[in-house]
């Protein structure tokens, strides 16, 4: 067969599919051509001749004896070359793992410097074009080392503010089981109120972190993506579980108390992951001595989270048993994430990841709020004045106990 023959030898049936594929490839090919043309001729550059836009974000600061270490990222569009480092208005000897950073590259800047405990540090990096990038450390304090002892301390911190209060709150379950359906609705309304409060709190923190994230990484987008993905995933999980448990019962699709409790625990757990992150990061930055008051505040605050998990379970009534294993599981799901949260915050804090984590938490809480709220409204006493009062009381209690920490 000649080359010319091959090019035209298209049998009708596969040729149809081939043509369709070829047609589908046209936009992609067109786009490629556009990119090639833009890169080759740079028409925008020809009319603007804009100077480079240099940006550099400090993602992590580590202070050890006699050394300042910064992890920096180029989060601007153009390359940045770190030429010199100024510490407290003095040029200082230093090393940079890679002085020239292209977009999104990271590098480690190490400055041997006799920094002083408790005093501020002003670090300024000067680029090859003379642009400056400032990083302020308000109160210098040693970054905790990743040894067994500090891991243990942060684990204890996480347990104290996450696991213990949730477990204690769950101890209200026997009392809740003896009350009437009307009061159970109040307790559920309390749960809804708590979740609403946590949602606002999480969104607030998440947006603040998103604002602190470098532009290129898009803190707000990370936060929103985290939230939306979790909402969709949880919706899918929920509808799958409910379909299975409803097993064809027409119309009346209602979650069991236990699955509701688990949903609430997941929402609270993800919130507590973020809470651990914030506390770990903060205490690693030098205010750990003030942590005791803080931990007490969190414990009081989070006690109500246990109550919120207990409320859906109380619908099983005095006889409806929830095994000890499930209770432990609920505590673990809701409280334990505080521990890895505290570790991450203390040792690997970065605003971008934190914004994503808070997005995930916000999405989870929003979704759980929706499920529990729907469940509450479906119960006979769900729309009673007492239930409304329970909702309001939750907001007030969260606000008041939160005064100690929020």
């Amino acid at each position: 067969m000649t080359a010319g023959a091959r090019s035209t030898a298209v049998t009708p049936a596969p040729g149809g599919a081939g043509r369709a594929a070829a047609r589908a490839a046209v936009p992609v090919a067109g786009l490629l051509a556009l990119v090639v043309l833009l890169v080759a001729f740079d028409p925008i550059g020809a009319i603007t001749d804009a100077p480079p836009v240099e940006e550099l974000a400090v993602e992590r600061t580590v202070l050890t004896d006699g050394e300042i270490e910064l992890r920096v990222r180029n989060d601007g569009p153009d390359p940045v070359t770190v030429a010199q480092v100024i510490v407290n208005d003095a040029y200082w000897a230093h090393t940079v793992s890679d002085r020239t950073l292209t977009r999104l590259d990271t590098a480690t800047v190490r400055v041997p410097y006799p920094w002083e405990e408790g005093l501020p540090l002003h670090i300024r990096m000067v680029s090859s074009t003379g642009a400056t990038f400032d990083h302020e450390i308000d109160v210098a304090t040693g970054t905790p080392e990743r040894d067994g002892r500090s891991l243990g301390v942060y684990a204890l911190l996480g347990l104290a503010i996450g696991v213990v209060p949730v477990a204690l709150g769950l101890l209200w379950l026997p009392s809740l089981r003896r009350v009437s359906a009307r009061w159970i609705a109040v307790a559920l309304a309390f749960t809804v109120g708590l979740l609403a409060f946590l949602l606002v709190d999480t969104v607030d923190e998440g947006l603040e972190l998103a604002g602190a994230t470098g532009e290129a990484l898009g803190g707000l987008e990370l936060f929103a993506v985290g939230a939306l993905v979790v909402i969709v995933v949880l919706l899918a999980v929920e509808s799958a579980t409910l379909r299975r448990s409803a097993s064809g019962a027409a119309g009346e699709v209602r979650a069991s108390g236990l699955s509701l409790a688990y949903l609430v625990a997941v929402g609270i757990g993800l919130h507590n992951l973020g809470e651990g992150l914030a506390v770990g990061a903060a205490s690693a930055r030098g205010a750990v001595a003030l942590g005791t008051a803080l931990v007490v505040g969190f414990a009081v605050h989070n006690l109500t989270e246990g109550l919120a998990i207990a409320a859906p379970l109380s619908e099983h009534g005095p006889g409806g048993g929830v095994s000890a294993g499930h209770l432990a599981g609920l505590v673990a799901v809701a409280g334990l994430p505080t521990v890895p949260g505290a570790w991450l915050g203390a040792y690997a804090f970065s605003p971008a990841w934190a914004a994503l984590a808070f997005g995930v938490a916000a999405g989870a809480i929003a979704q759980v709020l929706w499920v529990v709220g729907r469940h509450l409204l479906a119960t006979p006493d769900g729309r009673s004045g007492a239930a409304a009062a329970g909702f309001v009381v939750a907001l007030v209690v969260m606000y008041v106990t939160g005064l100690a920490v929020v």
Partner: protein
Amino acid sequence: MSATGPLAPDPGRRRFLRRLGMAGAAVGGAAAVGPAALGGASTRSSRRRDLARGHVPGHPAHQGHDGQSGMGTVGQVDHARNGFDPHAMLTDFDGGTTSRDRSGRTVREYAIVAAPKEIEVAPGVFFPAWAYNGRVPGPTIRATAGDRIRITFTNGSAHPHTIHFHGIHPAAMDGVPGAGEVHPGERFVYDFVAEPFGTHLYHCHSLPLANHIHRGLYGAFIVDPPGGRPPANEMVMVMNAFDTDFDGENEIYAANTVAFAYMDRPITMRRGELQRVHVVNITEFDPINSIHLHANFFDLYRTGTSLEPHEFTDTISMGQAERHMIEFRYDTPGRFMFHAHQSEFVELGWMGFFEVEE
């Protein structure tokens, strides 16, 4: 320049302080009022005792000036690429092309071009300077009082420029907008008699003034007394500074442009030899600059306009365009520091060493 300055704050810490709210109200102000405010923090006390004793967590920082530890910049400036060397500029006096006019007066002719030039002001840090004859500071113009100076000035840049001399001359030769300002691509001849003798300077006087000066359009103008001065090793140090990020504050301070140039490579001199340094301050954005010599005193000739010293001191401060002539000798060999006595300027580049040899 296009830097977007402030970096991400530490959200965790800020958040934490906010969380502390009522309990930790004092912490936020701790930085402002110093370590005493942190007294409540028990885990800090041991470190704070160390602080009180003068111990710092770091190792000794000021280990010398090898550029690899302690204060200073990292790397080397490519002087060849710059086209000028701070060491060569110390003693690079330009007498021009000399001839005599009909009256027998010495005529010194110069050709000076102003043009933009990117210069390396600290290792790896480049500044978009405007330069006279490709160097910052511009050529050191040297004449004897009474000489006629003829400078053919060409503007090779996109902005109007002048050369405004500090000295005594006719209004038409003043080098200001309206009298000797040269537009892009044009030229002008400044023609005047060098008066009075002393240590002077010249600079661009086009507007906006601060920008035209701090971009590098300045230089020393030395007028010798008719009878000359005793023989000495003569040097010129123009104290300048660079606002590399264009925020109205300088990032680099130096004598003769390059930060720490004389720290990384000391100025050598012979023991007992008379040193005469013409020190000119052209620093923009800071009201004063100064020079201080270690382990020695100098004779100060204010503005260099006297044959007798005005003062015997070791530190002299100058506002912008103030300049003095100082004379000294080192009688023992060794390495002696000299620098501005604004400590901030020192650590941002304006310090160096004299290496006194046998």
